[in-house]
């Protein structure tokens, strides 16, 4: 008989406070990390302490982000922001579509990524040319003041490297990031 009251009479949980009253779902409870396909080593994206994070993945989705107990920096602990990493990376504030606003436009329009990349490449080349300076006050500068970039402190070293390499080759010098702010 599955009826808990019956289990009370026959079992040791006379008052129905525990064993007898437990439902099947409760008995079969397991933490969602137990069924994760893999645990990926990562680092918290927020501040520069660099707390270790374990990212649990199941069916191609991140199901949990916890502190990494192995880390000598953080010993498995996280702050409120680090603990909110799952909501940061899977919350519904995130955008997944390219948005485009035409000059003077009142609202966003959609654009496929490929077209956007091409339009951006053209604009970089155009602005680069417009702002190109072989010289400045008689001295060779070989640079463009046509476009600028801001950002890098939340990015990986590899991303910063490609950005600096590309923009410097394009002659852009107005390249900055949060370290300045």
């Amino acid at each position: 008989m599955r009826w808990p009251a019956f289990r009370q009479l026959t079992g040791s949980d006379r008052h129905g406070l525990g064993a007898a009253a437990k439902s099947r779902r409760t008995r079969e409870l397991t933490p969602r990390t137990a069924t994760a396909d893999s645990v990926i080593k990562s680092v918290c994206p927020y501040c520069a302490v660099g707390c270790g994070q374990n990212v649990y993945v199941q069916d191609g989705r991140v199901t949990q982000i916890k502190g990494d107990p192995d880390s000598p920096v953080s010993r498995g602990r996280l702050c409120p922001k680090g603990s909110a990493s799952l909501q940061l990376t899977t919350g519904d504030a995130r955008q997944y579509q390219v948005l485009y606003r035409r000059p003077g436009g009142r609202s966003w329009e959609h654009l496929d990524l490929d077209t956007a990349m091409d339009m951006i490449a053209d604009r970089v080349i155009a602005s680069r040319r417009e702002g190109w300076q072989w010289e400045h006050q008689g001295k060779r500068t070989r640079r463009t003041m046509g476009f600028a970039s801001l950002g890098g402190a939340t990015l990986d070293n590899e991303e910063n490297y490609l950005m600096k390499k590309l923009f410097t080759a394009l002659g852009a010098i107005q390249i900055e990031n949060q370290a300045r702010i």
């Binding site: 808990p4 079992g11 040791s12 949980d13 006379r14 008052h15 129905g16 406070l17 525990g18 064993a19 007898a20 009253a21 437990k22 439902s23 779902r25 409760t26 409870l29 397991t30 933490p31 969602r32 990390t33 137990a34 949990q64 982000i65 916890k66 502190g67 498995g76 602990r77 996280l78 702050c79 409120p80 922001k81 680090g82 603990s83 909110a84 799952l86 909501q87």
Partner: protein, 300 residues
């Protein structure tokens, strides 16, 4: 009605009383608020793990506490109490604490900003568990108290029964909810989410009796180095709820943190309540009989 069959020095063994033979040691929290830095990692880690919904964007002005209290959608709540500038007037003269000067923690009446992470107490004698009519609330084999969300019909009886005002009923789904001491994680030998995240180990998780010893050491250590305001709360199995599965080291009176100074589980008075109910029922019957005896109307 909880029989005191096996009251050991460590107090009642709740899991045994709930019918678990050969159960694992009772697990719980010791929250040492003297090292709490009020970062609220516990609040977020708890909500993240248990998918507890956000419950309100309301600036309260209660120092940095905008979560207000434990409830159905806040299972960890960090309290903030500013005690600055309360020193006796003469204290301002010699600068032990001067309103416009520096403040030295060792001085008496030095300004303090108390921070404490509150949680369900998982009481040894749990009122919510006792009064729950459907058996949704149960004692687990770890001695913790958990709401079975698939059973609870939202009768709300546990809400006014809790002497700490922990459990609440959630408007959105009509069910009662509270800290489960991460019962799903416990089953797999994992540490609850809040204890795992806590940067300064203010929240310590472990077997309750081990934690009780650790708490005793910690409070005497604090007394030795002059923090004599430190005291333990709900650590004693002899208190009104048989000791808490989650207990605390506080730096001021419990009521300053919004905690009851001497909570007693209502179930202790239940036997007397049933006796009075029975008497009253009998009285009611007697009254009816008295009202009806010697009624002449039938001779007509």
């Amino acid at each position: 009605m909880s029989t005191a069959a096996d009251v050991t020095a460590a107090g009642l063994d709740p899991a045994a009383l709930a019918g678990y033979e050969g159960h694992p040691p009772r697990m719980g929290f010791f929250t040492d608020t003297s090292v709490c830095i009020g970062c609220k990692a516990c609040e977020v880690a708890c909500k993240e793990w248990n998918s507890v919904p956000e419950d309100g964007l309301q600036l309260t002005g209660m120092s940095y506490d905008n979560s207000v209290s434990l409830n159905a959608s806040t299972w960890r709540h960090v309290a903030f109490i500013e005690q600055i500038g309360h020193g006796p007037p003469d204290a301002t003269a010699d600068g032990a604490h001067s309103v416009d000067g520096a403040v030295d923690a060792a001085q008496p009446d030095a300004p303090r900003w108390l921070m404490a992470s509150d949680v369900c107490k998982h009481c040894t004698e749990a009122a919510c568990l006792d009064v729950c009519p459907t058996g949704a609330l149960i004692r687990t084999e770890f001695g913790t108290v958990v709401v079975q969300d698939d059973i609870c019909n939202g009768c709300g009886y546990c809400v006014p029964a809790c002497p700490f005002g922990v459990i609440g009923r959630r408007e959105s789904d009509g069910g009662a909810h509270k800290c489960t001491l991460c019962y799903d994680r416990l089953g797999d030998g994992l540490t609850p989410a809040c204890a795992k995240a806590c940067p300064t180990e203010s929240i310590q998780f472990g077997p309750v009796d081990e934690l009780r010893e650790r708490a005793q050491q910690r409070v005497s250590e604090l007394h030795e180095n002059g923090t004599d305001s430190a005291r333990l709360y709900l650590q004693d199995p002899g208190d009104g709820i048989g000791g808490g599965g989650a207990f605390f080291l506080l730096l001021d009176e419990p009521e300053v943190y919004g905690l009851p100074p001497d909570p007693v589980v209502t179930t202790r008075d239940l036997p007397r309540m049933w006796r009075h109910v029975a008497t009253a029922a009998g009285g009611l019957a007697a009254t009816a009989v008295a009202a009806c005896l010697g009624w002449r109307g039938s001779q007509r």
